[in-house]
């Protein structure tokens, strides 16, 4: 059984690769390459997999899961400029794809058995653009 917890945060970012010229960055990332940065209301959906506990009827204590996501991710990301304030985005372009990978890496070591198995991280950069990451090699 899959169960999903959704949290939200707001942050700014800029998509520019140091390996590319200004012109190449602007062609590749469009408006997102604006060096001053811009922001989004992000949403993260964390999906864990498990069987309902026969006593509690729950796969996971959702309050605990929410607290963990807030502690490991939201408190670090919320109202921050990702490139300047949240490693690894000082050296990794903070695309929605890379944010999803980073969220996975921040959560995975803390998801002990009581949280079920981490199944997917979905990151909404806007309501109309989101990515799903399942923890495999990229």
């Amino acid at each position: 059984m899959l169960i999903t917890k959704r949290v939200e945060f707001s942050a700014s970012h800029v998509c520019r690769s140091p390996l590319l010229s200004d012109r190449e960055n602007e062609e590749l990332y469009g408006l997102a390459a604006n060096p001053h940065g811009h922001g989004h209301n992000y949403a993260i959906e964390v999906t864990v997999e498990g069987n309902p506990d026969p006593v509690t009827g729950m796969v996971v204590d959702l309050k605990k899961l929410k607290d963990l996501i807030n502690r490991q991710v939201v408190e670090l990301y919320d109202h921050r400029f990702l490139n300047y304030e949240v490693p690894p985005f000082d050296r990794v372009v903070p695309t929605a794809e890379n944010v999803a990978i980073d969220v996975w890496r921040r959560l995975a070591p803390h998801l002990t058995k009581e949280y079920g198995r981490l199944h997917a991280v979905r990151v909404f950069e806007t309501p109309d653009l989101y990515v799903d990451y399942f923890g495999d090699a990229v």
Binding site: S17, L19, V93, T95, E97, A100, D132, V138
Partner: protein, 145 residues
């Protein structure tokens, strides 16, 4: 592997009716949707692609390229159109949202390779909401395994 999904909207009218059946049977099967004057919906589609992360851009695909593909292949031909009258595929086939989903998938898949690099993202599925309560998903062409 990472999946990227992008949503788009268009509005169109249609009538669910097939010449293969009598008027009475059409009315029984399609109900209100058989109204001879047609009716419309605000459709919302979600296009999902999956692929490896491009190490240089940190992305699976360039959303601007997907936007252009969907704009040319779907939004421009379908938005503010009468599907039965203006989309050749629906002159004979009923523009149910199942058939519409398959047609959109077919158009995107047909033009996918020209838009995206080899070994890049693959079209995985599309979902289409005819209304917020009727949602259809296609991950392969109808009739193909």
């Amino acid at each position: 592997m990472i999946r990227v999904t992008r949503r788009y909207r268009f509005s169109a009218s249609h009538r669910l009716h097939t010449a293969a059946l009598s008027d009475e049977v059409n009315r029984e099967i399609f109900g209100k949707c058989d109204n001879p004057f047609g009716h419309g919906h605000n459709y919302e589609i979600a296009v999902s692609a999956r692929g490896p992360l491009d190490p240089l851009s940190g992305r699976v695909l360039n959303p601007a390229v997907l936007d252009r593909l969907v704009e040319l292949q779907v939004l421009r031909p379908f938005d503010h159109r009468n599907l039965n009258e203006e989309i050749p595929e629906f002159r004979d086939d009923v523009p149910t949202t199942e058939n519409l989903a398959s047609e959109i998938f077919r158009r995107l898949q047909l033009n996918w390779k020209a838009a995206f690099p080899e070994n890049g993202p693959e079209l995985e599925k599309i979902s289409i909401a005819e209304t917020p309560r009727n949602i259809f998903e296609v991950s392969e062409l109808h009739g193909q395994a």
